[in-house]
Amino acid sequence: MDQSSILQEGGAITITGIIVVFTALAVLSLVFKYVIPFLITLPERFKKLRSQEEKEELLSKKDARNVPGEVNAVIAAAIHAYLDELHDEESTVLTIQQQQKSYSPWSSKIYSTHRLR
């Protein structure tokens, strides 16, 4: 191989070499500038996203429960009326069983109707 072809090959190696060295370190640089920070914050992002979704879900549930004031007023009035109309519950059981009563002169018929003195 003569000197000029050696120099040509050397030139090709040089250019390739410089490009590859720059590429390798530039790729590493970009990976650590963008990809790695993104990957590291990924679980946090997921967490944040999930909590955001949960928040939204909660809000949507709240929205569902959020009824207008007039309706609330009507419901309140209905409940009030219903509760006001209620009577005390009484026992409505009728019985024919003889009730045992212990004697007491205070409630004795004899003293109240036959012996007036």
Partner: protein, 415 residues
């Protein structure tokens, strides 16, 4: 040198004759003469095996080079963990040995040769990378990933040196191995040259480690030349804190991405990121502790001393080595310049509050953490409150990744 040998032999002969004369005066002269000649033969054999008789001035030159390494390491604290083992290794490797010795580093199955296999077969560099991974904190890089590009820019030094070596007449494989000196990463240089150009391994390793040690001398003038006072005073935003999850993900994602692009860098990058996972997972502290302390220390000792010992004068003191040293120096200059200039280029696209201090581009050459320290030192010179060390560590560690990727590319083309 031959004249010196002749003189030594003559001196030795005279001593033997004098001793022989004393023996001849005794009554049992004839018997003594026989024993004497055997002693003389033994001594001659012994002398011929000493380094004095086998030495060459080149060995002494290399021993002087070792003194320089030791001096720089001990006196100036320039990379002492590398320069001192290498310096002592150079002395070990340059003790002159007879031709039929069985202990030299290049003698098959000698003890030194067996230890040297770790270098020659590329075993030590990945183990060093494992240790580096277990001690490196990639936080600043994760916090500001665009700084990785500075680590890529500084690798232009590798390819510029590669082209330079081709112009100087080295073949493609040799030029690839020499080019990697520009990555300022000793283990990577050894790893690549052990595969591409074994003969040049010693020179390349010595050049790489020498210039890494000289980073505080080489880089500042270039940094000052390419920046103005206003740029040197730019204060950068402090890096954000990085989560443990990011720290664990970085080596895993980094390994997959870089190795899918440059799979030939597997032994280096695989071990680097593996070491980092051991550290960051926090579940394997024992393993990480071993990798970043005892293991890397042991491997550094073996690597340093054997690389040093591989620089035997007859292998090392060649014209090629001188060229390699020249190219190595140029590669550090180009790499530093490219890092600084690329930081200035990036500033064109950045908002005022995000501007980079271009000095940190110089840390894109690996040489961890010396080049980052140099940046910090230079920053403080122009603004005593401007601490750039943390910012500079980002391109510094990305330079390690970048140089390993570059080595992988060269290996895939030339291996």
């Amino acid at each position: 040198m031959d004249a010196m040998k002749r003189k030594l032999l003559l001196l030795f002969g005279m001593l033997v004759l004098l001793a022989g004369g004393a023996f001849a005066a005794a009554p049992e002269a004839a018997e003594s003469m026989g024993a004497l000649s055997r002693v003389q033969g033994g001594l001659e054999q012994f002398f011929s095996a000493t380094s004095f008789m086998n030495g060459d001035f080149t060995n002494f030159i290399m021993i002087l080079v070792a003194f320089v390494f030791l001096y720089l390491g001990i006196k100036y604290d320039f990379e002492p963990l590398l320069l001192i083992p290498i310096g002592m290794g150079i002395i070990i490797g340059n003790i002159p040995l007879p031709a039929d010795n069985s202990v030299g580093i290049y003698v098959e199955n000698s003890v030194m040769n067996i230890l040297y296999q770790g270098v020659e077969q590329g075993v030590y560099p990945p183990l060093i990378f494992l240790g580096i991974g277990a001690m490196t904190d990639f936080s600043t890089l994760i916090a500001n990933p665009k700084l990785m590009l500075l680590g890529a820019a500084a690798q232009v030094g590798i390819f510029a040196t590669f082209i330079g070596a081709l112009y100087l007449g080295f073949n493609l494989q040799e030029a690839g191995a020499i080019g990697i000196i520009g990555g300022a990463d000793g283990p990577t240089a050894i790893f690549l040259s052990s595969i591409l150009a074994k003969d040049l391994l010693g020179a390349i390793a010595i050049a790489a480690y020498s210039y890494m040690a000289l980073v505080p001398v080489i880089q500042p003038p270039i940094m000052r030349l390419l920046t103005n006072g206003k740029e040197r005073k730019i204060r950068m935003k402090p890096p954000r804190s990085v989560s443990q999850t990011e720290k664990i993900l970085f080596p895993i994602a980094g390994m997959i991405l870089t190795l899918f692009i440059a799979p030939s860098a597997l032994p280096l990058l695989g071990m680097l990121f593996f070491g980092n996972v051991l550290k960051e997972s926090t579940r394997t502290n024992r393993l990480a502790e071993t990798a970043r302390t005892k293991m890397i220390d042991i491997v550094t000792i073996l690597l340093g001393v054997t690389v040093g010992a591989s620089t035997q004068a007859d292998h090392f003191l060649t014209e090629q080595s001188l060229l390699i040293f020249g190219l190595g120096a140029a590669s550090f200059v180009v790499a530093t310049a490219c890092g600084v200039l690329f930081a200035k280029f990036m500033n064109l696209f950045l908002k005022d509050e995000n501007k980079l201090n271009p000095l940190i581009g110089a840390a894109g050459v690996s040489a961890v953490p010396d080049s980052a320290r140099v940046v910090q030192h230079e920053g403080l010179r122009y603004d005593p409150q401007n601490h750039l060390l943390m910012h500079a560590m980002a391109p510094n560690v990305s330079g390690v990744i970048g140089s390993a990727v570059a080595a992988g590319i060269l290996l895939s083309f030339l291996g």
